[in-house]
């Protein structure tokens, strides 16, 4: 027998036991194949498999090529998730083993490795199609059942909100892409996965940026995503376009969902598309006219008289100042003191309702419509953002 080399590894697979003699020394030998292509002889230290075991390589044969192609493309969605998470084949095999994949169908590590590699390759080959999901349905190369297509696309475009929070408001440029390894370190998401998510953001952004019509629908039409996911993407596109400063330290505590909600509100009420769906413009930008009109609302803040009056009417401390353009700051500047004073959500709601209604009672205040449109969004945003 030729002993090529010996390695140490914790044993993790089912083995067949043989009695075997080497150099007149009787050893309990285990015969197995742990790594594809290699036949190993394992000399056990103890008959129980909980200790380290010497692996002695006896023969070598390597798998040069290994493919499995089904007429219907077989896709294991658990493995798909591992692939999406950016794991390497060997890491994925480990995870699958930990999850008990070896108990199925009398599998061994070699079978599992082969299957994982094959699945990863399949996903990699399909990735090109996932970049333009509408193609997936009309392409002829892979016969994938419709339900699976939906899952494939949806999962591919799903993202980690932690990651999205990091990227939110940043320019989806090459520069940001270079910072991805920092984000990867910070969030614990693999770089590969970060890249995929970033590229998805960018791809969606590029496609819908110039498109007319409702943003969410556009995303759904071009990327065949579910309603919720499409809304999340709409938020990302919205923030990427208007580049709100979401990275400020004071805003750190806000999650992606908070921002997504706000974006949803803004898109619904403050963009041109929101007012008139037949308009030629799009959802991405805030309505200019409306923003200008908002300036008129400043009277509430600027006009001392009016403000005082309003103050009285609201019967509450108005420490919040109102600024038009920097919406987030507005919200924040309102929220922080409240947080400081430990207001409850109910109190806030009450306050905001009164605050809104009080303006109507101001005789000198003329911009009722604008005020409602403004406050409706502000109110829901504030409520969303008001948490620990």
């Amino acid at each position: 027998m030729q002993i090529r080399y010996a390695v140490f590894t914790p044993i993790l697979c089912r083995t067949q036991r043989f009695n075997c003699a080497i150099n007149n020394t009787r050893l309990q030998m285990l015969f197995t194949q742990t790594v594809p292509g290699a036949i190993y002889l394992l000399a056990t230290v103890s008959p129980r498999l909980d200790r380290y075991i010497t692996l002695v390589k006896a023969y070598k044969m390597s798998m040069e090529l290994d493919v499995f192609v089904g007429n219907t493309t077989i896709m294991d969605m658990e493995v798909y998730q591992l692939w999406l998470d950016g794991l390497t084949v060997s890491d994925a095999v480990k995870v699958r083993m930990d999850e008990g994949a070896l108990l199925e169908c009398e599998a061994n590590p070699e079978v599992l490795t082969s299957d994982t590699m094959d699945q990863f390759r399949t996903f990699q080959m399909c990735e090109r199609l996932l970049h333009s999901p509408t193609k997936l349905g009309s392409q002829l190369l892979y016969q994938i059942p419709a339900q699976n297509q939906i899952i494939l696309i949806e999962r591919y475009y799903e993202f980690d909100s932690v990651f999205a929070r990091e990227v939110l408001g940043k320019k989806l440029s090459k520069g940001t892409k270079k910072d991805l390894d920092d984000i990867s370190c910070k969030t614990g998401i693999t770089l590969k996965s970060c890249r995929r998510q970033f590229d998805n953001f960018k791809r969606v952004f590029k496609v819908v940026e110039e498109l007319k019509g409702p943003l969410v629908e556009n995303i759904q039409r071009h990327f065949l995503l579910s309603d919720t996911l499409a809304r999340d993407y709409a938020a990302i596109v919205f923030f990427a376009n208007s580049r709100f400063e979401t990275g400020k330290r004071k805003l750190q505590y806000l999650s992606f969902q908070d921002f997504a909600f706000c974006a949803g509100q803004l898109i619904s009420y403050w963009t041109i598309g929101a007012m008139d769906s037949m308009m030629e413009d799009m959802d991405v930008d805030l309505e200019k006219e409306f923003l200008n009109e908002l300036k008129d609302l400043k009277v509430l803040v600027n006009d001392k008289d009016m403000m005082d009056q309003h103050k009285i009417l609201v019967c509450a401390a108005l420490r919040g100042k109102i600024k038009v353009y920097k919406l987030m700051e507005v919200n924040f500047k309102f929220i922080e003191p409240c947080r400081y004073d430990r207001w409850t959500v109910a109190e806030i709601t009450l306050f905001l309702t009164h605050y809104t209604n009080a303006a109507h009672c101001l005789g000198t205040f003329r911009h009722q419509m604008i005020w409602d449109r403004y406050m409706g969004v502000i109110k829901s945003c504030i409520l969303q953002m008001y948490h620990e």
């Binding site: 009695n19 390597s62 290994d66 007429n71 169908c105 070699e110 080959m125 392409q139």
Partner: protein, 1071 residues
């Protein structure tokens, strides 16, 4: 002008970007047929061009229509330089030439380039107007239908089976022409693809002419192959069975349901009941392993063989390949010929049939497998460009087969196939089939039907047969008279040869079914299990694998070396098959396929077959190991432990495959294998007293006193016997069309192709080392397949045929194309339960304990619950328990042991495993997935791309084929010079196979079909040069495009009911 071909180019989509500057393409299309070319306009700056061209019309001879493909080339217009080719589509016009097949070809075709693969799609419309031509001397054979299916196609009935047709055409291989040195790889590949397309067209036309000459209108079981001989040329050859087919009127066709799930279902009224009825009658089995061989070698050497005819390969001495067959021609023929039967076939040169599936009554008797091999040297062909030499070679082999069949007392060969393996200048030609006696009625004016449900016919007495039987002096009128409605289900098992003048020594017993005729103890065949056959339990795939090293040599020396090795390999493969068959307690092999592949320094042999227990045949004996030196005590001990393991395995297998012939049950109680039944498997001495030899770790332990071959054989046999991993719960496998014992298929199926290439890094391996590697390789591939397809459990892998090749020195390539079909475990369970009814009184109790066992196991991984009240459950298995470390396996073992005591079906385990694996914890696959695999029915119908099912079988479960649209026969070459970038060899081949599937599907969809049946991948030649970052692959696929309609669920229920009824009768008989 007998034909007008019209083509219209509609649109393109997903085209590749050809102009980097604009990221767009200016595409136009060239449509070429013969020497005529048309062009569309350039559709500028689009990846989705809409040409909407006029109808391009080609006025051509129908001869050309048959030979030539329509060639569509998509190009990118370039004002300044030459136009760049995007890719091509070849469309075979043949399906449009038959009035009964497709009428129009219309759909999206992938645009294929041999270097880049699929690059977008093109929408094409093709029609043919044929004018009636009454020219008697025409060269075309338009209208002759071709079928790959090796049975009478489902919506036809055969009015007449004419017989064997063959043809062979030769051409220079473009790859070896001088011009290949100066042209691009793309041009070379395209020349090759085009040539092969032309050659297969020509071949088909010529075969069609032969069919017309014989008076037929169709070729069934059409098998076309390529021989890439290299320097000496490129051969395309085909064989088939000429028939006259009548189309069934749709109304009647639906009655002859045909394929459904189930052979038993289609002839519900006769055969299924037999399955049980006969078993009780069988008792007092007397069988011994014996050695009947009609063979070239000394009968001593081949003394284990049975019904097996080996022709020693002949060596070529002269250029004209006139080999000297060493084989004894002379199996003594029966003195009394079955004249009537003979006469029908005698007129034919070769009474061969490529069919593997026959209607009841067609097969009268089966003699056994006949095969012949011949080693030839390709560089000795006088006129390489002419087919004469190859014709002569095949003629010679066929003659040999014919004489082998005669020696077995048979006048025909069924399930006939031919193959070659080429390595450098050495070529091995092989042919094999099953010697059989046929009912001559079918060859004359009678007719036979597809699913074998035509009762009227099969009831009519086969005249020729009656005569022949009388001649034998066996009074058999009672079953030959056919007064009672059904044909005997055991008839085909009866020996065709003369009992007192046998071609080989065989152990004969009276048939266990009819008790009138003699049957052999083991039956090997290349055909599918006849529908009427009565089978006990389930079948399984049996493989024999063998690797033999060979010295590198050239020319004659090499050929001699190979010739010398071949008979030994055949013999060893045969012994392995025999032992494995016995280990599974079975007595017959169906669908036997032996492949021998030559490499520069080794020979690979792989035999696959489906083993079954034929109720008409005696129970197989066990296996006994005998040492030659009984002096050594420890050695004896070793032998006895081995013997015990083997016995245990046999018992386990009996349970697993549900083989419970009445007499076996009695025997199991005592000693598992009575002495009188044991076959001997001699094993020579060895110093080590343990399984060391199995690992083949020791050198120099050869015993000089013992025949080396016998020694290693025995060791290897034991090794291969015991290392064959059992199938995971929920899986069955076979290499035939249907699995005996499983009737209730669901519509869920998954066809797949898997290819593996292994590199042997250790140059100087011994035979045993190689064998071990080869066996592991096959076993691992199977394991991977099971794992991959686990979401389909319970399922059966059908048509599981491996193809081995030695593409290069130290490389082993294994390719497999098969279909996984899931079946309904509930109904199967019910059927099985019914089968065992009457013996399982404590069934409820059992079931409970089983569940208990399962639960406890899954909960704490330590099965504690022991079923009480069951006779010696785990005792016998204590030894094997430590070998299994997964709880699932434990569970299975447990289930086995539990079932030992009672008469519980093996299905029980399976269902248990199923229920466990379908629970979330064990099967990680989301519900959606498994559901989608199981049936595409749940798919939304608005899917943009037609779903095309593919299967290597001739039917789709739970569906009815309503129309055959024509043969699919495609040849593709793919080459890359950027292997690494395409994901290495695996990535390259993966995408190529996916592309081939896609192109097959697209062609079928364009013909208006929704499935391919009898699909096969004939050739998969893979070559790589990783250093140059290059690889090339050739794939040839074929099949029948069909339209199927789904059977309503109501229609699909009868199988269950019938099997239920069946079992009841059977149970009654048992009690």
């Amino acid at each position: 002008m007998p034909g007008k071909l019209k083509a219209k180019i509609v649109a393109g989509r997903h085209l590749p970007v050809m102009d980097r500057a604009s990221d767009l393409t200016d595409a136009f299309v060239e449509v070429k047929f013969g020497n005529t070319t048309f062009k569309t306009d350039v559709y500028p700056k689009s990846l989705n061009p809409q040409w909407n061209s006029e109808w391009f019309k080609f006025e051509v001879d129908d001869e050309d229509l048959q030979d030539e493909p329509l060639q569509i080339t998509v190009l990118d217009h370039d004002t300044y330089s030459a136009n760049d080719a995007i890719g091509k589509v070849y469309i075979d016009i043949d399906p449009l030439l038959s009035s009964e097949a497709a009428t129009v070809i219309s759909g999206w075709f992938p645009i294929y380039d041999t270097i880049h693969g699929i690059r977008g799609e093109i929408n094409v419309l093709v029609k043919v107007d044929l004018f009636n031509d009454l020219n008697r001397f025409r060269q075309s054979s338009c209208g002759v239908k071709f079928f790959c299916t090796t049975s009478i196609p489902r919506c036809y009935r055969a009015a007449l089976v004419h017989g064997f047709v063959e043809e062979l055409v030769v051409n220079e291989d473009p790859e070896y022409q001088w011009i290949d040195r100066i042209r691009t790889p793309r041009a070379s590949n395209e020349a090759r693809q085009r040539l092969i397309s032309l050659m297969s067209g020509e071949l088909q036309r010529k075969i069609g002419l032969k069919v017309l000459e014989m008076g037929g209108n169709a070729v069934v079981g059409y098998l076309q192959c390529f021989d890439l001989e290299g320097e000496s040329g490129l051969v395309v050859r085909a064989i088939g069975t000429a028939c006259t087919l009548d189309k069934l009127i749709p109304g009647t066709a639906s009655n002859t349901i045909t394929h459904t799930n189930t052979a038993p279902a289609s002839n519900a009224c006769n055969s299924p009941s037999k399955e049980i009825k006969e078993s009780p009658m069988a008792h007092g089995c007397r069988s011994s392993h014996n050695s009947p061989v009609h063979s070239a070698c000394s009968s001593q050497r081949l003394s284990h063989s049975q019904n097996f005819s080996v022709s020693v390969p002949t060596l070529v001495f002269t250029g004209m390949g006139s080999g000297i067959s060493v084989g004894k021609e002379a199996g003594p023929l029966k003195t009394l010929l079955r004249q009537q039967a003979q006469s029908a076939l005698e007129q034919r040169e070769f009474p061969f049939f490529t069919l593997t599936c026959f209607p009841p009554g067609f097969l009268v008797h089966i003699g056994g497998v006949v095969s012949a091999r011949s080693v030839k040297l390709l560089d000795r062909i006088h006129n390489p460009d002419e087919p004469e030499t190859r014709d002569a070679w095949w003629e010679e082999i066929r003659q040999e087969i014919k004489s082998h069949a005669k020696a077995l007392g048979c006048h025909a060969v069924v399930g006939y196939s031919e193959s070659t393996t080429i390595c450098e200048e050495v070529c091995i030609l092989s042919a094999s089939g099953t010697a059989a006696m046929l009912n001559p009625r079918f060859m004359r004016e009678g007719c036979l039907d597809a699913g074998g449900s035509d009762q009227r016919l099969s009831r009519q007495p086969p005249l020729g047969m009656v005569g022949s039987e009388r001649a034998e002096g066996e009074v058999s009128s009672s079953w030959l008279g056919f007064d009672d409605a059904s044909p005997p289900s055991c008839g085909f098992c009866h020996i065709p040869y003369d009992e007192f003048n046998m071609p080989f020594p065989a152990q004969l017993t009276y048939c266990y079914h009819c008790r009138r005729q003699k049957v052999p103890d083991v039956l090997f065949t290349t055909i599918d299990l006849p529908a009427e056959a009565a089978v006990t339990g389930k079948g399984c795939l049996i493989q024999a694998r063998l690797c033999r090293t060979k010295k590198k040599a050239q020319g004659e020396v090499n050929a001699t070396a190979i010739s010398n090795l071949l008979p030994f390999m055949e013999y060893e493969l045969h012994t392995q098959l025999m032992n494995k068959l016995k280990l599974r307690c079975m007595n017959a092999l169906f669908g036997l396929r032996i492949q021998i592949s030559v490499g520069e320094n080794m020979l690979l042999g792989l035999a696959s077959a489906t083993g079954v227990y034929l109720s008409a045949l005696p129970a197989p004996g066990g296996i006994q190991i005998a040492g030659k030196t009984p002096s050594d005590l420890s050695y004896d001990q070793h032998i006895s432990t081995m013997q015990k393991r083997i016995n245990d395995t046999i018992v386990m297998n009996k349970e697993f495959y549900n083989i419970h012939p009445p007499e076996c049950i009695e025997e199991v109680v005592g000693s598992p294998i009575p002495d009188r039944q044991r076959s001997r498997l001699f094993r020579s001495t060895s110093e080590s007293s343990d399984e060391l030899s199995e690992l083949d770790l020791s050198h120099g332990k050869k015993d000089a006193f013992v025949l080396e071959i016998d020694d290693t054989d025995a060791v290897e046999d034991i090794q291969s016997l015991l290392t064959d991993a059992p199938m995971p719960a929920g899986f069955y496998s076979c290499n035939t069309e249907v699995m005996p014992g499983i009737y209730n298929w669901t519509s869920g199926l998954q066809m797949f192709t898997s290819v593996r290439v292994y590199r042997l890094n250790n140059a100087n391996l011994t035979n045993q080392g190689l064998n071990k590697i080869f066996t592991d390789l096959c076993e691992n591939l199977l394991k991977s397949l099971y794992f991959k397809l686990r979401s389909m459990i319970p399922c059966c892998l059908c048509h599981l045929n491996f193809t081995v090749a030695v593409p290069e020195e130290e490389l082993i390539q294994v390719a497999v194309t098969a279909v996984a079909m899931s079946f309904d475990k509930e109904t199967q369970l019910a059927a099985d339960k019914a089968l065992n009814k009457g013996s399982g009184e404590n069934e409820e109790q059992l079931q409970f304990s089983m569940e208990l066992c399962g639960e406890s196991t899954s909960s704490n991984n330590q099965p504690t619950a022991k079923p009480s009240g069951l006779p010696e459950s785990a005792m016998t298995h204590s030894s094997s328990r430590d070998r299994c470390s997964t709880w699932l396996e434990l569970l299975r073992l447990k289930a086995h042991t539990i079932r030992r005591g009672s008469v519980k079906t093996s299905r029980r385990t399976q269902s248990l495993a199923n229920s466990v694996s379908s629970s979330e914890r064990c099967s990680p696959l989301p519900e959606v997935r498994s559901r989608s695999l199981r049936s595409t029915r749940s798919l939304p119908c608005g899917a943009p791309v037609t779903v095309v099912k593919m299967t290597p079988l001739s039917f789709l479960p739970r569906t009815r084929i309503v129309k055959y649209l024509g043969i699919i026969n495609m040849f593709f070459i793919r080459e890359t010079t950027s292997l690494r970038e395409e994901g290495g060899v695996s990535g390259f081949l993966h995408s190529f196979i996916a592309e081939v599937f896609a192109m097959v599907r697209a062609h079928v969809a364009a013909l208006g079909g929704n499935a391919v049946v009898s699909y096969s991948m004939k050739e998969c030649v893979f070559m790589e040069n990783p250093n140059k970052n290059q690889a090339q692959c050739l794939i040839n696929v074929s099949g029948d495009a069909v339209i199927f309609v789904r059977e309503s669920d109501q229609e699909a229920i009868p199988p269950l009911i019938t099997s239920g009824q069946t079992s009841t009768t059977g149970a009654d008989g048992t009690t």
